[in-house]
């Protein structure tokens, strides 16, 4: 009886080890990732409503895909969700640097690698057997969107406080230019999001790993 328990325990411990080894996305990455997804979507949808109050280009966003109902409501959403986005984003960037995740997962990356992996992806030859390492296309997209996130936050800050943080506003070429930079950073993130979601759906086990870790 006791022997059985012991072997049972050993088996369980083995199982836990095997499970641990199989973890593709650690819990902190999953939590931060989904908080970011919610915050980004709130920022983007409320941002479109704010844009509509004084469009930079000759189009506006249909109000059915915006958040806030009108300019004042959208501003409340935007300046509330910004805290979620920025605090969560800082956690991600700091943890990514401190744990070495960025170095391990996003590097090395090379132009040749990106070209090879793009070709492989388009001809259906890209392997998805090992989800714990990112291919060069993934690395490029993730590095790109992290940078776009930094630009969107800094340009946003420069428009929010063009007097108090006027040095930052000047970096973006003044208030009106900062609006344009902010817009294109948003567009880059939306472009990423579309590709990203399509790829996640095409490789459902990657989505599973981002939800339950394995």
């Amino acid at each position: 009886m006791s022997g059985m328990t012991a072997s049972h325990d050993a088996a369980r411990a083995d199982g836990a080890m095997a499970q641990k080894a199989k973890v593709i996305q650690p819990a902190w990455v999953r939590v931060v990732h989904w908080i970011n997804a919610v915050a980004m979507i709130m920022m983007i949808m409320s941002g479109w409503q704010i844009y509509n109050a004084s469009p930079i280009f000759s189009f506006t966003f249909p109000t059915t895909i915006t958040l806030g109902g009108w300019l004042g409501g959208a501003l409340l959403w935007h300046f509330a969700a910004m805290w979620l986005l920025v605090i969560n984003g800082l956690v991600y960037v700091i943890a990514g640097l401190v744990t070495g995740r960025f170095r391990r997962k996003l590097l090395p990356i090379s132009p040749a690698g990106v070209i090879d992996d793009t070709r492989a992806a388009l001809t259906g030859k890209l392997s998805h057997d090992d989800l714990s390492t990112y291919n060069n296309v993934q690395k490029l997209l993730y590095i790109g969107v992290i940078l776009a996130g930094v630009v969107v936050v800094l340009s946003g800050l420069s428009m929010w406080k063009p007097v108090q943080f006027q040095e930052l506003t000047a970096v973006f070429g003044g208030y009106d230019n900062a609006r344009v930079v902010h817009f294109f950073a948003m567009a880059a993130i939306v472009g990423f999001l579309v590709i990203h979601v399509v790829l996640a759906v095409l490789v459902p086990k990657s989505l599973r790993a981002m939800i339950i870790g394995r």
Binding site: V38, I41, F59, G69, W70, G72, L75, K161, Q164, Y175
Partner: protein, 258 residues
């Protein structure tokens, strides 16, 4: 994406009379956050219809109050708004209000008196002639609207802080509230009133302030969004009580600092 609409900055060959009604919350809607966000995605992400619940609005308002405190902290009373050269002034400067230009207040100089109320030692009303005799500063600064457009203009007039001292305002009070001819109101906190660029403007681009820009007096605050820069000002009240304002009551952030 979506329908085309006029681009606000740029088409300023004539005075820009914007359809501000478009920007107002739908009167048919009782709560200003409802509508326009009934997107399934949000409902899915949160597991409940956040947008229609009262608590979402309450939370947003609390965060807006928190943002007021953050902005008051960020505000540096000595940091000046950038200034520009004469050639960068936008001419004609946009007219922007929730009414059209012919509906704008038409204040008569002879009848005008700046009424002073609240925590002020000398509440004697001021005539335009008396106000024009105060020492005047000139600034060329960027006016930034909550809607996102901006335009550089030139305003002249006495410093609000100096005037508050002259009339014996209790400068330990929290707010100065501005009352305008058409019933518009807004509030500024005392540190902002004493910012060196916060001005009682009587001139725009070296001309007596035209009706479109707030004749006879505008309070120019380059450290705050445009709606915190009241036009057609006929009264000032020094108070410790926060009384909101026209747009603030609709939900615009109270501080709206730049």
């Amino acid at each position: 994406m979506g329908r085309t609409s006029k681009i606000i900055p740029g088409v300023d060959q004539t005075l820009l009379v914007k359809d501000a009604a478009l920007l107002l919350p739908d009167p048919a809607r009782r709560r200003f956050l409802a509508g326009g966000a009934s997107l399934g995605a949000l409902t899915l992400l949160t597991g409940c219809d956040v947008v229609d619940s009262f608590s979402a609005e309450d939370v947003l308002k609390k965060i807006s109050k928190f943002n007021d405190a953050v902005q008051a902290r960020i505000f540096d009373p000595n940091k000046l708004a950038p200034t520009y050269s004469e050639s960068m002034i936008k001419r004609p400067f946009p007219f922007n209000a929730y009414y059209t230009l012919d509906e704008a207040p038409d204040v008569k100089a002879s009848e005008y008196k700046l009424e002073l109320t609240g925590m002020i030692a000398n509440k004697k009303p001021w005539t335009l002639d008396e106000l024009y005799k105060l020492p005047q500063d000139k600034q060329i600064t960027r006016h930034i609207c909550v809607e996102g457009w901006s335009a550089i203009g030139s305003w002249s007039g006495p410093k609000l802080g100096d005037f508050l001292k002259t009339i014996g305002a209790d400068t330990s009070a929290k707010y100065v509230r501005f009352i305008c001819a058409e019933g518009y109101t807004t509030c500024l906190d005392m540190p902002t009133c004493f910012h060196p660029q916060t001005q009682m403007s009587f001139r725009f681009d070296d001309q007596i302030l035209p009706r479109a820009y707030g004749y006879p007096m505008k309070v120019r605050v380059p450290t705050r969004l445009g709606f915190k820069n009241p036009k057609y000002v006929v009264g000032m009240e020094v108070t410790n009580e926060y009384k909101g304002g026209y747009w603030e009551d609709y939900g615009y952030n109270d501080y709206s600092g730049l």
